[in-house]
């Protein structure tokens, strides 16, 4: 799975989403909270931490240091608050008042004292009402206030009265009642200082760390909506409670006042604007009471939906979704609701699509790394398990992101839906057009491990549905899908559509035909010979009869499916002569570059002589792939015409290897400043055989000033004997001021020269490597860089024929990093030298090392390693890796080559 996908995806969807009621979740506690100030109850471990770090004066901006973390929980009787305050100097004062019911009176806390700079924690609690709310104060001495506050609307007369001096009525004579037997409780636990002793309150001589606290408040005095009230019978009496809190929302803002800080107030409201806390209730965080069983993934999805209102998902939410794997998809499915705004469904299906992309991975990976995904896709009950993810298939309107989500996460319900459409007299064409690209992309990318055959079968069945075929946009989309998925069984329909009166359908059919026919090419899925012949015949007939240039261009591109065919070659030549259209000509030449048609040279030559613009560019590309002496006159004419080289012309000149062009290229090189074009010119010169170009390359090496060019020229000198090169290579290799990378190239190139100069140079480097590589020698924490330098010096000596150097090469190879091992093995492959590192590499657990070892084995002594090569080919996980499209090094080709070399009569066992 591409791990960035979900991040990007979520980043996009949440930014563009509409507004929804936002609610994060607070968890139910299965066991009552023991109010002792210690946050050791299980629910506190699971509860989402709420950061109380937002600066009071700067909206949305958090402090650099952590100030306070709050956590909320609930049960049927109480709202529970836990928090941890971080403070190096705890200051708390009482207000000399006590409030509360008899038996549960609370000592009051001072909330402002300019002399003492008190610290106090506040919680503002409302059930969605911006006019009426509770304000709670608590401090490190466990002193507690409860103030019922009224924020009158400005149009209320009381707002301008003496009761509301700041637009707020502070009813501090009111206090939170108990709801017997449920009582208000609060406690504090001072955290230990560095010496292990508890932090001290009102002692500035030491460094405190803060405290933890718990507060428990019955729901009834908080003013919970009565809809949450339940009744039960107890000893024959009707008794209230517990409250039904599931789904109940509460607005809750936490505030920390730290008297020592210049920024005195910190709070938990990312969206809150600077004003009295009471007056910003609509911007306080909202929490919904959820069950204790909610998974981390469900909590993350809920947060994601809540974050939608804030304009973007938090990093923590995205991280939680990414790490949840398929659980995120299952959790998102739990929130799918056709009645909710479309933006919510878009987001949820995006989550499903991103998480379910893992279905492309091999089941053994899923079984180990995401067992829930393995269960969802591979268990006997997979069809039923996938249903929730596919709920949207039955919706009247499909969200944009639904197709990818269902193809990836719910293949079995999706197949069922497609089958039902294939059988319907009036299939839902609009929805089919939405789904086809997602199916096509998934199959074309080789992601479908489980149901490829079923998907192809249902696609063929849809092609037979007259309603689908009769609707041009749907038929065009289906043709594309047939091509993407290489649905061979729909071949007859594609052939039929090649003759459609609709030009766009003929174009789509031509492309589709080419893709299906290409399935028969070497290395591609098998195509029955009969089908292939039928398609070829249809293609030839269409090319002959077609008049539309757009369709002909598509037919020319499709012709690549028959790269060796004389018939196709002849048809292309005929079309090339018949159609002057640039799009058709260009399309033919692009195909020529990828085929071996007998008539290719004529088409290339003709175009080089006559074409211009994009057609000439395609002709030059084809000439670079299929160089031929017959191109020379035209290429020389172009050389004479063009004052500045085009990259395509440089490649074509280099490919044809004409020594007479050497002067021209060298002249260009002298004028050219662009480093990339200069590199191309150097490579083109190098492709010209003979002493003339070798001398030019040697001169370039001697005068190279740019590291990149020096690097390239060293590589050339390593592969081709350049006269007098060893002197320059030796100088470069020993030059401590030159870039290490270029010197490495020079050292390896020295191995290509067996003269005294190069031997002496390598000997000096070998005898005192640390002197020549002082920078590497200084890195002592990991000594390998210097060892690496020694390894490559020894390797160059081995290349010169010094067999004694092999012992050192082997020893250092075994201790080397995989990257170094790859370099050594590629070096051995280049010089076709059998050496023990090859056998070691063939056992490697690194793909790149293994591939390099296979190539080295094939180049050096294939017969000796035949059994190892066979074992690699038969390894189940190598097969899986290759089938997964994860091979960028073309291991099968390397294995084929090595195996073929092993069976040649001259192979040395």
């Amino acid at each position: 799975m591409n791990h960035q996908t979900i991040f990007i995806l979520l980043g996009l969807v949440v930014c563009g989403a509409g507004r929804l009621p936002a609610a994060e979740r607070i968890l139910e506690t299965a066991e009552p909270i023991v109010v002792d100030g210690v946050l050791d109850e299980p629910v506190w471990q699971k509860a989402e931490p709420v950061e109380v770090d937002y600066l009071g004066s700067k909206p949305g901006q958090k402090s650099d240091e952590k100030r306070m973390v709050a956590k909320y929980a609930w049960d049927g009787n109480y709202l529970c608050i836990g928090y941890e305050a971080f403070d190096t100097n705890l200051v708390a004062r009482g207000n000399d008042r006590a409030e509360g019911p008899t038996g549960n009176q609370r000592d009051g806390a001072s909330i402002f004292d300019p002399q003492a700079k008190v610290d106090v924690v506040e919680f503002f609690i409302s059930f969605g009402d911006e006019h009426f709310m509770w304000e709670i104060h608590h401090n490190a001495l466990n002193q507690f206030n409860d103030v019922f506050c009224i924020v009158p609307a400005s149009e209320w007369p009381v707002a301008k009265g003496s009761l509301a001096p700041y637009g707020i009525i502070f009813n501090d004579g009111e206090w939170l009642r108990d709801d017997p037997p449920h009582t208000v409780a609060h406690a504090v636990k001072l955290k230990p200082k560095a010496d292990g002793q508890p932090s001290t309150v009102n002692d500035a001589s030491d460094i405190d760390t803060g405290y933890t606290a718990e507060i428990r408040i019955p729901w009834r005095p908080l003013g919970i909506p009565r809809t949450a009230e339940t009744w039960r019978q107890e000893n024959g009496k009707r008794v209230a409670g517990p409250w039904n809190l599931e789904g109940q929302s509460v607005s809750l803002l936490a505030v920390l006042q730290d008297g020592d800080l210049p920024e005195r107030y910190h709070h938990s409201g990312p969206k809150r604007k600077p004003d009295w806390f009471h007056k910003t209730q609509p911007d306080w965080p909202v929490y919904e009471c959820g069950s204790a069983e909610e998974t981390a993934a469900a909590a993350a999805v809920r947060r994601l939906l809540a974050d939608q209102e804030g304009g973007g998902a938090s990093a923590a939410t995205v991280d939680a979704l990414r790490t949840s794997g398929i659980a995120a998809a299952l959790a998102a499915a739990g929130f799918l609701d056709e009645g909710k705004p479309p933006s919510q469904a878009e987001m949820l299906f995006d989550v499903i699509a991103a998480a379910a992309k893992c279905r492309r991975m091999h089941p053994e990976i899923l079984r180990i790394y995401d067992p829930a995904a393995f269960e969802l896709f591979y268990s006997p009950t997979a069809a039923a398990a996938q249903q929730p993810l596919a709920a949207g298939l039955a919706w009247k309107t499909w969200p944009r992101s639904l197709p990818e989500a269902v193809v990836r996460g719910a293949p079995l319900p999706t197949l069922d839906w497609l089958k039902s459409q294939a059988a319907a007299t009036s299939p839902d064409l609009a929805k089919l057009r939405l789904l086809f690209p997602a199916v096509g992309w998934w199959l074309r990318a080789g992601n479908e491990r489980q149901h490829a055959e079923e998907f192809c079968g249902v696609v063929a069945a849809l092609a037979e549905n007259p309603a689908v075929a009769a609707d041009p946009p749907t038929a065009a989309a289906l043709l594309k899908l047939v091509g993407d998925a290489r649905v061979v069984v729909a071949g007859d329909w594609v052939i039929q559509m090649l003759a459609s009166p609709d030009e766009e359908l003929r174009q789509a059919a031509a492309t589709s035909l080419g893709r299906i026919a290409a399935a028969g090419k070497p290395g591609s899925p098998t195509l029955p010979a009969e089908e292939r012949s039928k398609m070829l015949a249809a293609w030839l007939a269409r090319v002959r009869d077609e008049q539309s240039s757009s369709v002909l261009a598509k037919l020319a591109a499709a012709a690549e499916a028959w790269p060796e065919s004389k018939e196709v070659s002849g048809a292309m030549l005929e079309l090339f002569r018949r159609s002057p259209d640039a799009e058709v000509q260009r399309s033919i030449l692009l195909a020529v570059a990828n085929t071996r048609w007998p008539d290719r040279q004529f088409m290339i030559r003709e175009s080089l002589e006559k074409a211009t613009g994009g057609v000439l560019g395609a002709a030059l590309d084809a000439a670079a792939v299929h160089p031929d002496a017959s191109h020379l006159p035209a290429i020389k004419a172009l050389l004479a015409e063009q004052p500045d080289p085009s990259p395509q012309l440089i490649d074509a000149v280099g490919a044809v290897g004409d020594s007479e062009s050497l002067g021209h290229l060298l002249g260009w090189l002298k004028r050219e400043k662009n480093p990339a074009v200069r590199m191309k010119l150097i490579l083109a010169i190098n492709r010209i055989p003979g002493e003339g170009s070798a001398r030019v390359m040697a001169d370039l090496l001697a005068s190279a000033a740019e590291p990149l060019e020096a690097d390239l020229l060293c590589r050339v000198a390593s592969q081709r004997n350049l006269p007098g090169a060893s002197r320059f290579l030796g100088g470069l290799a020993e030059d401590v001021t030159a870039p290490v990378a270029v010197r490495a190239q020079a050292i390896w190139a020295l191995g290509n020269y067996a003269d005294t100069e190069s031997r002496d140079s390598l000997r000096r480097l070998s005898a005192d490597t640390s002197k020549y590589f002082p920078e590497l020698a200084a890195k002592r924490l990991i000594p390998e860089p210097l060892e690496q330098a020694r390894l490559f010096i020894d390797l160059a000596r081995l290349r010169q024929g010094e067999k004694a150097a092999e012992v050192e090469v082997v020893r250092r190879f075994d201790a080397a990093t995989p990257a170094t091992q790859v370099a050594v093995l590629r070096s051995l492959a280049q010089i076709k030298l059998d050496s023990p590192p090859i056998a070691t590499g063939l056992r490697s657990g690194d793909f790149a090392v293994l591939e390099a070892a296979v190539r080295a084995a094939g180049a050096a002594r294939p017969a000796k390693y035949a059994a190892d090569l066979a074992a690699i080919r038969q390894s189940p996980f190598i097969t899986i890796l290759l089938d997964s499209g994860l091979d960028i090094w073309q291991l099968p080709a390397a294995l084929d080559e090595a195996t073929k070399a092993a069976t040649t009569p001259t192979a040395v066992p």
Binding site: I368, M679, P785, S875, P876, D887
Partner: protein, 193 residues
């Protein structure tokens, strides 16, 4: 984080030297491995929570190694055996120094695999007696030398015992496939209160 880039170029240069393309390719042919670390003190020990995020290709190659009997499936025993060995190998390659003194790490617990193809290892080692104050420390990850990639030190200086904190000196993040050092080296202060 020290950026000792040039020291590794010698191998990488030779790798690119033998590639068919003329330009400089990717710096290493080896699959990169992203890392997340947590480093903190608790219960008298230094703890390193070490999460690797290998590519899917590297994961499949590991399954090939795990599959000791070559039957194409991984038994619990094969998996456990592989990860025990891997944890020990990584522990040997990580060096942790405090006040210049080495603090050997031992693997502990079982390796946790997660849906991001993540593998989380737990290492710990006993902390020496440290006086209040700041003690320079350094972690060098030799495993990242073999398998380089970006890294994130999660919650630096904010985890574990409040009396002893590992506070970063060097940046705690180095991400991006082309923007990471050749190996991971963290410098930090152990702050004892």
């Amino acid at each position: 984080m020290k950026p000792p880039r040039s020291s590794s170029l010698i191998a990488l240069a030779l790798v690119s030297a033998l590639c068919p393309t003329p330009g400089r390719g990717h710096e290493s042919p080896i699959d990169h491995v992203e890392r997340e670390l947590r480093l903190f003190a608790e219960d008298g020990k230094a703890w390193l929570v070490y999460r690797l995020l290998p590519t899917e290709r590297a994961t499949l190659m590991e399954l090939k190694t795990m599959d000791a009997d070559g039957d194409g499936t991984i038994s619990d025993r094969e998996r456990a055996g592989f990860f025990v060995g891997k944890a020990q190998a990584i522990a040997k390659k990580i060096t942790l120094n405090i006040d210049g003194r080495p603090l050997p790490l031992e693997p502990g617990g079982s390796v946790r695999c997660d849906p991001q193809l993540g593998q989380t290892f737990l290492f710990s080692g006993p902390l020496p007696a440290l006086q209040p104050g700041r003690h320079p420390g350094r972690l060098v990850d030799g495993h990242s030398r073999d398998y380089p990639g970006g890294f994130v030190w999660k919650d630096p200086g904010r985890e574990g015992s409040e009396a002893i904190r590992f506070e970063p000196v060097t940046p705690a993040t180095q991400a991006g496939p082309h923007d990471h050092p050749p190996w991971l080296e963290l410098q930090f202060n152990v702050v004892v209160r």
